[in-house]
């Protein structure tokens, strides 16, 4: 920050701390009803995940009374959303399952972003062979149907949290790379990049400190959409029996386990479906709201 203090710094307004800027960004979303609905839905699930043990009366893996319908009372036990075929409280499993989703989905998205951003700035800033090779690799990965890739890779290497994160990173990073590359190609001829080069800044510093922050707008919208898509992916893998190993609750896995009983006990599958759909909807609405705001500017 020494550059800022060179020559009369009294006029330069102080940059507010990050939490103030984050709050201002959320306040901006208030302009769009759609975006606010999205924020509310996502905030609801974040709170549920945070306070899951306080909000539920039973252990998610405890077998209490099987095949109870919603609002059932068995002795002293009350089941808000009923129980599944093994007698586990569905609300407890959904609440605790939100922790799984809200841990792995952002983790996988973040990991994909780190790889994708590094690939993208490298290809866009360095051009030449870096660009050629990285773009070819991405084209090949992107041409493959994603779920086919996930199913084959995860079934072969085994279903675990780590493998799911790795597979999602592998399949999503090329898409992120393309966006970043496009943005960097647009930014790399700006004056401040030339200034940084003249100052003798290292290429990596230029890429990550000068270029990346200026490319953040479209990336934030994409991140919301991608987070929603990764949430769907984790759900799909659980649904296909390739999710996290039982017995710990996972929304997709809950649907898979109760699939055969859906005809008689629809509540066992419908509530996890509502949970995952609402979370994804919330993320997509935030993305839509952000896009609308960025268009208004």
């Amino acid at each position: 920050m020494t550059e800022q203090t060179v020559g009369g710094d009294t006029d330069i307004p102080k940059r507010p701390p990050w939490y103030v800027r984050a709050w201002n960004a959320i306040k901006l979303l208030r302009e769009t009803t759609v975006g606010m609905i999205g924020v509310a839905i996502v905030a609801f699930w974040l709170l549920v995940a945070m306070f899951a043990p306080l909000l539920t009366a039973y252990d998610p893996n405890a077998t209490i009374a099987p095949f109870q319908k919603p609002f059932a009372t068995v002795g002293e036990n009350f089941f808000l959303l009923g129980t599944d075929h093994l007698g586990r409280d569905i609300w407890s499993r959904i609440a605790h399952g939100s922790r799984t989703v809200l841990f792995y989905a952002p983790l996988a998205t973040l990991s994909a972003y780190i790889v994708g951003i590094l690939m993208g700035v490298l290809a866009g800033y360095r051009r030449g062979w870096y660009d050629e090779i990285l773009s070819r690799i991405s084209d090949i990965i992107l041409s493959f149907p994603v779920l086919v890739l996930y199913v084959i890779v995860i079934a072969t290497f085994g279903a675990s949290g780590t493998n799911i994160v790795i597979a999602i990173t592998f399949a999503s990073a090329p898409g992120i790379m393309r966006i970043v590359r496009g943005l960097v190609l647009d930014l790399r001829n700006r004056d401040y990049i030339a200034a940084a080069q003249t100052r003798g800044e290292s290429p990596w510093r230029i890429m990550l400190v000068e270029l990346l922050p200026n490319a953040r707008g479209p990336l934030i919208v994409d991140a919301c959409l991608r987070l929603g898509y990764v949430t769907i992916t984790i759900g799909v893998l659980g649904f296909l029996g390739l999710g996290l190993p039982p017995p710990d609750p996972d929304w997709g896995g809950m649907i898979n386990e109760s699939r055969n009983m859906a005809q008689v006990f629809p509540h066992m599958v419908i509530f996890p479906c509502i949970a995952i759909s609402s979370l994804v909807l919330g993320l997509n609405l935030i993305a839509d709201g952000l896009r609308e705001i960025s268009l208004n500017d």
């Binding site: 759609v34 084209d139 090949i140 041409s143 493959f144 149907p145 994603v146 779920l147 086919v148 199913v151 084959i152 890779v153 079934a155 072969t156 929603g228 769907i232 759900g235 799909v236 649904f239 296909l240 029996g241 390739l242 997709g252 649907i255 699939r259 859906a262 005809q263 629809p266 599958v269 419908i270 479906c273 509502i274 995952i276 759909s277 994804v280 909807l281 993320l283 997509n284 609405l285 839509d288």
Partner: protein
């Protein structure tokens, strides 16, 4: 133009080669592993050794890959471990069933998505535009497995109108195709509609449309004769690329409805590690995916004179 097509085709072959190498190395890197999966958990060490020798698994990896590639090119993918018959006997029937499903989805989805997209894009920011946009956000937020559950809950458990499985055990049955098609259309149409809307909105802002309106042409003529021709070029590519997504979608939907298609086969083969079947399925999937992308690129060039003549 010939150069362009040749380039695209060459690129398609290259992609398939790379994918085939990756799949082969992933599944057949260790011969002992392959033998164990083919012969089952109760085979003795001696049996494994005999099998490895008899099937050429003692050769180096690249030699085995060349042999496999040669066989695959002549259409021989080996025998399925689960079904105990040649992969070809199972694969093509299943692929045909999925083609029926996919075709039905496109026939239903494309007109709906294009109509909604054009209506929304005609007047950007109108109430109709917002309604259609929000609807498509909501439907694309519901994953296929959730929409299958919701649809089944309404039409099978609730109203009892449609069958809940689509195994087609007693021959082809149109009623069993309805729910899988609905689930896939519901998830996919939103994206195509949004892309059409964006394309339409862009065209509506061009000077030539303004001229057409100002010279007093009836509004529907401006839309049908002037706007649509340019606005529908981009959605063509989107629809072709949608086939790639459909390949992912059919895995979920076929699994849920027990439809005997390619997606269910791929999933079963992967879960039970039917190595030769996985290899064949992966190659078919990448062929369909890259093939449609190549067609999309070539078709786009034919449709868009600005590219064709440059």
């Amino acid at each position: 133009m010939v150069v362009f097509i040749a380039k695209r085709l060459g690129y398609m072959v290259l992609t398939m080669l790379v994918v085939s190498i990756l799949v082969f190395v992933m599944l057949e890197f260790s011969p002992g592993n392959v033998a164990r999966k083919v012969l089952g958990p109760y085979a003795t060490q001696e049996q494994l050794a005999i099998w490895l020798e008899a099937n050429g698994y003692n050769n180096p990896l690249w030699e085995r890959y060349i042999t496999w590639l040669g066989n695959a090119l002549t259409g021989d993918f080996g025998d399925s471990i689960i079904y105990k018959v040649p992969v070809n006997d199972v694969l093509w029937d299943r692929l045909g069933n999925t083609a029926i499903l996919g075709l039905a989805v496109l026939v239903v989805m494309v007109p709906i998505a294009l109509t909604l997209g054009v209506l929304a894009g005609m007047k950007e920011g109108s109430a109709l535009d917002r309604t259609i946009s929000i609807t498509s956000i909501v439907t694309t937020s519901i994953p296929e497995f959730a929409s299958t559950v919701f649809l089944a809950a309404i039409f099978v458990f609730g109203l009892g109108l449609l069958p809940g499985t689509s195994a087609m055990t007693s021959g082809f049955n149109l009623a069993e195709l309805v729910l899988p098609v609905m689930a896939l259309v519901l998830y996919d149409f939103g994206y195509v509609a949004r892309m059409t809307r964006a394309s339409m909105a862009e065209v509506m802002q061009t000077p030539y449309i303004r001229t057409a309106i100002l010279k007093g042409l009836p509004y529907y003529r401006v839309i049908v004769k002037h706007a649509l021709r340019n606005a529908l070029i981009a959605p063509f590519t989107v629809i072709m690329l949608q086939i790639n997504w459909l390949l992912s979608g059919v895995i979920v939907v076929e699994f849920f409805f027990a439809y005997k298609g390619f997606g269910a086969l791929l999933l079963e083969a992967s879960l039970r590690q039917d190595i030769y079947m996985i290899e064949a399925c992966a190659m078919v999937a990448v062929f369909v995916a890259v093939g449609t992308q190549t067609l999309a690129d070539i078709g786009y060039m034919f449709l868009n004179p600005r590219i064709r003549f440059s």
